[in-house]
């Protein structure tokens, strides 16, 4: 069981890193810092996927790790950098809730996840157990970030952080078929292209990326 213990510790460590990066996302005040943190989170995710591939002896997880590494940790951050430069978006993050409160909410969400997941997975593999709690925290924190940030770019980052959490959960689930990874990659891909289209279109029409301005119409005013 020695090897099991080590694999558990490492997985736990990497998972915790993903979560820490998620929490870090919450308190970044500058746009580029947010993107960089996100890249770091994706990197950690790639590491987690790689480690799971190794531990579970599931080679297809390396693919997932690769996608995370190349796509999320490199292409997406670069694209976002480029987008911000090109569109001349305001560089600071506009928050809807103070950073302190956001952090506290984030911590509360982590606590909730642990409270929920740990008791119910008593008979699941230990490896899965911890990762699942971590993944759930990441998902919730990603959602929290989408709520507390006004800027469209930060919202997108929040959304992708949420997806990171999902992938973390997926890779930690032992023996989950490949279908899932394909779907995840696929959705991320499509999501990105869509986002790109949207950004351009929003740019064309409203000259801003602040969602509050986009939504002046909001349907059916009388």
């Amino acid at each position: 069981m020695g090897a099991g213990q080590i694999s558990y510790d490492v997985a736990h460590l990497i998972g915790a890193t993903v979560l820490m990066a998620g929490l870090q996302l919450l308190y970044q005040r500058r746009l580029f810092a947010v993107i960089n943190t996100f890249a770091f989170q994706a990197l950690a995710l790639a590491a987690a996927a790689g480690w799971q591939a190794h531990v579970q002896n599931a080679p297809h997880l390396y693919v997932t790790a690769g996608i995370a590494l190349v796509f999320k940790a490199m292409i997406v951050p670069f694209a976002l950098h480029w987008l911000i430069e090109k569109l001349g978006i305001h560089r600071s993050v506009e928050t809807a809730m103070s950073i302190g409160w956001t952090m506290m909410a984030g911590v509360a969400l982590v606590a909730l996840s642990i409270l929920l997941v740990l008791p119910v997975t008593a008979n699941a593999a230990a490896l899965t157990r911890e990762s699942l709690a971590l993944a759930m925290s990441v998902v919730l924190i990603g959602l929290l970030m989408m709520i507390t940030r006004r800027n469209a770019v930060t919202q997108v980052v929040g959304f992708m952080a949420l997806e990171n959490g999902l992938i973390l959960a997926a890779v930690s689930a032992k023996g989950m078929p490949l279908v899932v990874e394909i779907s995840v990659a696929f959705s991320v891909l499509v999501a990105m292209t869509l986002f790109g289209i949207f950004f351009f279109r929003i740019r064309e029409r409203f000259d801003t990326l602040d969602i509050n301005d986009v939504e002046t119409y909001r349907g059916d005013r009388q």
């Binding site: 993944a135 279908v179 959705s187």
Partner: protein
């Protein structure tokens, strides 16, 4: 890789045709230039799909690893193919009228037709998938295709609606994935690694051994996730705007089909829970969400000035009612919920057909500008009246039967829950009727009398699906075919 692909059906299997035809048609339509031909190819492909789906009524293919047909999804597949067909007919008429006004470029139209078939494909895929993962992918893909179609007009409102739709549904679908993973985790210790632990057929067999607490947790995520797609309040926000701003045929399939598909996914998970038997009851959560949807939409209906949003909110109302019914559970309420799904999808798409023609005729979507439809366009107007009366729950249409069962069974079991239900239904009823009277009766505005010959031809084409749907709904209100009843009963039992 190969062994997973063996899950695909063979040539003799109708499922293959049901899935392959729309997929192939989507590809073909993407390269087809002439939109007039394209709209008929669209109809032909939908007709083929529908015919293939009819075969399912006779032959039930054995479940494979990826696909299966049982009592639950068989009628949904047929229904989806049918509404897909009628909507494609309506769409042909609609697009012909629309292109007269040059609102859409050829490229847009090509894109539209391709996406229409792709959308049908994803829905049929989601319905027939035997794998939670595949189902999830299909629902996600359905979202993406419809997002693109909602933003087709490229107006400010359309883009805003699409954006809202996209963000909310992506988050929702993400949460649903998390729920899916949790279910896998619950299944995996019992059934081992691999695709078996995600197959409905296998999971249902051994659900009783699953870890109930994990299933509880999973269901919360699935409920919020797929519930967003169903449009349950307070997760509904995307629905009215997406319905209102896209082309009307898309509103019809969104309301009539996509919501059903999302609900279907949700119900599959609920079946798992009830097969397990030791979980917390999902009923209260469903009941609360159903009621909140009902009340929210009932009040919202009173303030709607846009005809398509009005009926979009009415869809939320009905989804709330269906969710409520399944939340109550029991053979009667479940039966009613299933029936209501069918009736709502037929009726609501019929309403959107009518709404499409109306807004094209009158050149407006504002309710306040629409008057005297039964006078200016009798066939359309009365069809519209009939459809709205049906959706408002008046007999002898089918919706009445399901509302009767839901309310009746709830009153006998939980009178205190039935009271708010009845109040909400009454509120919504009042709002719908007052809007209906405003639009259908009174002195019609002086314009809108002239209609081109082509316009009349296309409106006959557009009216056929409307009346066809209403005939079916009327028939169902009086007489339900025995096989359908048998399916409903089986599913109602499975739903617990």
């Amino acid at each position: 890789m190969i062994d997973r692909l063996t899950g695909l059906p063979g040539l003799e299997n109708p499922l293959l045709w049901i899935l392959a035809v729309p997929l192939g048609a989507a590809g073909f339509l993407a390269v087809l230039r002439d939109w007039r031909v394209a709209s008929w190819v669209n109809v032909a492909a939908s007709a083929l799909t529908f015919i293939a789906s009819l075969v399912l009524l006779r032959v039930r293919p054995a479940p494979t690893k990826l696909f299966f047909i049982d009592d639950f999804n068989v009628y949904l597949v047929v229904l989806t193919a049918f509404v897909g067909l009628t909507t494609s007919v309506f769409s042909a008429a609609y697009i012909a009228r629309e292109s007269e006004g040059n609102r859409l470029s050829d490229l847009h139209l090509r894109f539209y037709h391709a996406m229409y078939q792709a959308f049908l494909f994803t829905m049929l895929l989601a319905l027939s998938a035997n794998n939670t993962g595949v189902m999830w992918v299909a629902v996600e893909a359905a979202t993406l295709t419809t997002v693109l179609m909602v933003s087709l007009y490229r107006t400010r409102e359309a883009i805003e609606a699409a954006w809202k739709y996209f963000i909310l549904c992506s988050v929702g679908i993400g949460l649903a994935l998390f729920g899916t993973i949790l279910v896998y985790l619950a299944a995996q210790p019992v059934m081992g690694d691999g695709a078996d632990s995600m197959a409905w057929t296998e999971m249902m067999r051994r659900a009783a051994e699953f870890q109930p607490d994990l299933l509880n947790l999973a269901f919360v995520f699935v409920l919020v996730g797929y519930g967003t797609k169903v449009g349950l309040a307070p997760l509904h926000a995307w629905l009215p705007d997406a319905h209102a701003e896209g082309p009307t045929p898309i509103s019809a399939v969104l309301s009539g089909l996509l919501l059903n598909v999302a609900l279907y996914a949700l119900l599959r998970f609920k079946m798992l829970l009830s097969a397990n038997g030791q979980t917390l009851s999902p009923g209260p959560l469903l009941v609360v969400m159903g009621l909140s949807s009902l009340f929210l939409s009932a009040f919202m209906l009173y303030r709607r000035g846009d005809i398509k949003r009005l009926f979009a909110y009415s869809s939320i109302e009905h989804m709330g009612l269906i969710t409520f019914a399944f939340g109550m559970g029991g053979p009667l309420a479940n039966f009613a919920g299933l029936l209501h799904m069918t009736m709502h999808s037929l009726t609501k798409s019929a309403i959107f057909f009518a709404v499409g023609i109306i807004s094209q005729n009158e050149g407006t979507k504002r309710i306040a500008d629409i008057r005297g439809l039964t006078m200016s366009h009798p066939v359309l107007g009365w069809g519209f009246v009939l459809a709205v009366l049906a959706i408002a729950g008046l007999p002898p249409m089918g919706v009445f039967m399901s509302e009767f069962l839901v309310l009746g069974s709830t009153f006998s079991r939980q009178p205190l829950l039935a009271l708010p239900l009845a109040i909400a239904l009454l509120l919504a009823f009042g709002a719908l009727i007052s809007r209906l009277q405003m639009m259908a009766f009174g002195e019609p505005p002086p314009r809108s009398a002239v209609q081109s010959h082509a316009g009349r031809a296309s409106s006959i084409l557009a009216l056929t699906p409307l009346w066809l749907h209403m005939a079916l709904v009327l028939m169902a209100g009086l007489y339900l075919p025995a096989p359908l009843v048998a399916w409903f009963h089986t599913v109602a039992r499975m739903l617990g």
